[in-house]
Symmetry: C2
Subunit: 336 residues, 2 copies
Amino acid sequence: MKHRLAFFRFACVLLLLSVTAMAEDPLPSWNDGAAKQAILNFVRTTTDPSHPNFVPAEQRIATFDQDGTTWVEHPIFPEDIFAFDRIVAVAPQHPEWKTTRPFATILSGDKEAMTKLGAEDLENILLATHSGMAVEEFHTMASDWIATAKHPRWQRPYTELVYQPMLEVMRYLRANGYKTYMVTGGDQEFVRSYAEKVYGIPPEQVIGSTVAIQFTYNKDGQGILTRPPKMLLNDKFSGKAEDIYLFTGRHSKAAFGNSTGDQQMLEYTQAGGGASLMMLVLHDDAEREYAYGPAQGLPDTKFGTFTQALYDEARAKGWTVISMKKDWRHIFSFQE
Amino acid sequence: MKHRLAFFRFACVLLLLSVTAMAEDPLPSWNDGAAKQAILNFVRTTTDPSHPNFVPAEQRIATFDQDGTTWVEHPIFPEDIFAFDRIVAVAPQHPEWKTTRPFATILSGDKEAMTKLGAEDLENILLATHSGMAVEEFHTMASDWIATAKHPRWQRPYTELVYQPMLEVMRYLRANGYKTYMVTGGDQEFVRSYAEKVYGIPPEQVIGSTVAIQFTYNKDGQGILTRPPKMLLNDKFSGKAEDIYLFTGRHSKAAFGNSTGDQQMLEYTQAGGGASLMMLVLHDDAEREYAYGPAQGLPDTKFGTFTQALYDEARAKGWTVISMKKDWRHIFSFQE
């Protein structure tokens, strides 16, 4: 009896310790390993005033790519689906589209053909659907769509297909004084329409590709802002590094990506000197999400991919590759 | 004796009341009047959750033009003087400038001729001096210059020629949850080099004209950002309204300007709906600062001016015109 009581006490202490440890783990969806340790170590050392890696509060900037880094981009970028849906919605006003490439492909409903559209076709589709209206009008189109559209595989809203481990990293960074920025090849206004709700990132911390914004007067003489069909910023590849500086005048200290489209953002983060954290998400989990990229013998994504050269660069420069399969205990919140 | 004591007590109470009132006045450099009341009223009502003008914390955005609104722009914009000084500094590497317009005008040292340079000449001078280097290099050039250059009239650094009443407005707005942005026709990086120190405005809240920013690799293969000779953003006139939205995805709630270069920023602030504050600084104090613009029968500033049409628009739309002469008790901190 005495032994049993001692054992019970011992078990209670163990349970208490483990519950405390769980409560204190800022990254519960991450398995222990090099990736999780890299994040914990970066935050611990850069917020410790006595550590050589210390980063003053005002310089704590963390930047995240979106597609494939914080939410599902496969098999088609969610924003491309939004554009395809818009084409269908406004097609009655454009009878010529029935026989015009690339619009005819969208209107045919041939999903296989849609995944094979080239970069130029997609750009034309994006321009046609993302311009020609007031900024508020486009914002509403985007937020209406995101509230109802569903991913074909999970039949859930795209906003539920954000990666729980990355949400934890964002919260953990913010709790330690980092400003989190979304730096996306997608349209800035599209992402701003849900980024605060989904990622806790306010509109002024969303940097993205965009058409120009043009001030003009409406028929009542009131000032309005419209979206002319002319690209202004392209936040892929070099554009990410350039526009982080354009918007903030600062270096990113931590950068998260998943493809060559994020390469320069990570390179420039590292080039800033002092402490830095560069991470790349590797899609190697066909069961819970997807496995793609040349390493997996599957087709590339449209605007950049996780090439062998990028993988080699990451290894050579001390960047951290996140294996979705090994490093992430959960991928989506609904799997918890 | 008894009466004297009573009088002394009464005087003490008066003194105490007036000291308390002074301590509580967030705008001590402002004389009482419509302009000061407009600011106090705007802040009081937009931060009162029970008032119909209430503005939620995340939407509290205030935008300030710089030249002529928060510091002296007369007789030549400080940044133009910086550009002229740069021309002189690098002239030995450009012998052809001695005979090339507009560079020859600068190298001649003829101050009168410099004030008469046209917009196109100035643009060429700005492009020649503001591009062709790494972003950090330009930043250092600007901060080195601003630390040593002096205004010809007061023989003081330009950063001492900021308007004390406007600094008080910025502090007062920030103390009430407003994010203050500088939205300047001047170069964004130039202004970022001193905005935090001078205005308490961090680099990410400085929106300004800028050449493009270009990512490239240096000879060691490291990523760097350079400034090619190509304009990307022009934050005068419509550009102010457009780029506030580009950078923040939000409407400005309070906007401060002094010329037609700020007109659209004020118009779009008012068009946002709900509470808004639009203010224009009128330079009507030749003794303590300057009096200029057509109303004063003096030459226009280069990139916009306080025209009669703007004055009429302000009156018609309920904007507040700040008279430097009547509304400001002090203009510069060194006059206190």
